[in-house]
Amino acid sequence: MTTAVGTATPRRLSVDAKLRIAIGILSVIGIGIGTYLTYTHYAGLHVLCLSSGGCETVQHSRWSKLDGIPVATLGLVGYIAIFISVWIRGEIGRAIGFGLALIGFLFSMYLTYREAFTIHAYCQWCLGSAAVLTLLAILTTIRMLRTDPAAPVTPKKPVDRAERRRQMAARR
């Protein structure tokens, strides 16, 4: 019984730690993409692009901004927030990370739809960001749905046992 408890808890924690590390790494990649696109936008530089002019087409389109703010900048803020959420312990941190990644994923799907069916051009940086957000959405969902390792069922047992002993003694 003790052995079972001893092996189960560290295993769960280790998976959560791995998820947090993966989310952190993906957020850093996203921060890199967001920083580059924001910098090129405000510095008026050309975006390095594999396809002929696709990135510029997308960046010049009306969908590249949200009320005047470049979506790349909003993405950068989102990635930073997801990165910070990894360091917030407990349910709140996981919920924040999950919510932000979900918003980013859904909005990036909308932007990819615009690229494919409205702008008719693709920007590799945007597609890269969409891929990162997809992975982040998957990982934060797994992290959100996993059993909370901080509140395992088993450690309660010794407490319950002691209480029971006290209750039985009182009855006698």
Binding site: H46, S52, E56, D67, V71, L102, D148, M168
Partner: protein
Amino acid sequence: MASRTKQKEEARARRLAEEQARAEKARRDRRIRTVVGVVAAAVIVVVALILINSGGNKGGIKTGTEATATAAAVDQLLAGIPQSGATLGNPNAPVTMTYFGDYECPVCQAFTLQGGFPQLVQNDVRQGKVKVVYKSYCTATCNGPNPSVFPTQQVAGLAAGKQNKFWQYTELFYRQQGQEDTGYVNDAYLTQLARQVTGLNLSTWQSDRGDASLTAQVSSDQTNAKNLGVSGTPTLIFQGPKGQAAPSAAVPSYAQLQQAIKQVS
């Protein structure tokens, strides 16, 4: 005695298991509530973001002083530059830029209004070094809700071209381009644009819209584009004494246009 103790232990184990199951269920319920809440909040936020993103810069026909100011800006840009049909600039200019475009294409709008085009017109076209020939190629319109409006809208520009006002009409269209995929182009929209073109004879324009040769010109432009391998708009092809060049950027800057001009002249 041993059996009683065993029974008690079993009962205690059962109670513990039940308590744990209840606690687990409560935790699961709480988790589900959190997940549902977060998903609902995320969906609301995304819908709001999409509405802001797609609703911004709606464009469309301007009225009143805004319309007057727009028409004045167009007149100022094109003043003194010769026009003939869909050609802007000196007919003997050494360099020709063929511009494959679609009036409903937002990227064409970006190029015409914010890319290198205004500077090209102000400098090279005005100085007679470059002439611009507009050709129709259906992209955004054909992906929209009403692809059949494409010849009608492009012919509306060409009909203005019969009065050497093609570029006024084209500029006004791009400056008042509506939101894509909304099917905003209709007869009223096209006529309102024509009304804004300074000096355009409206009744002549209306009758010229029925000119079959203009519809044929739109079809011929499309065939021409397909033969050249044009796949999107705007596509710009420069032709000059030294051959042909096409800027790779979809929304070329003035520097990129200059580079292409240098290559062919």
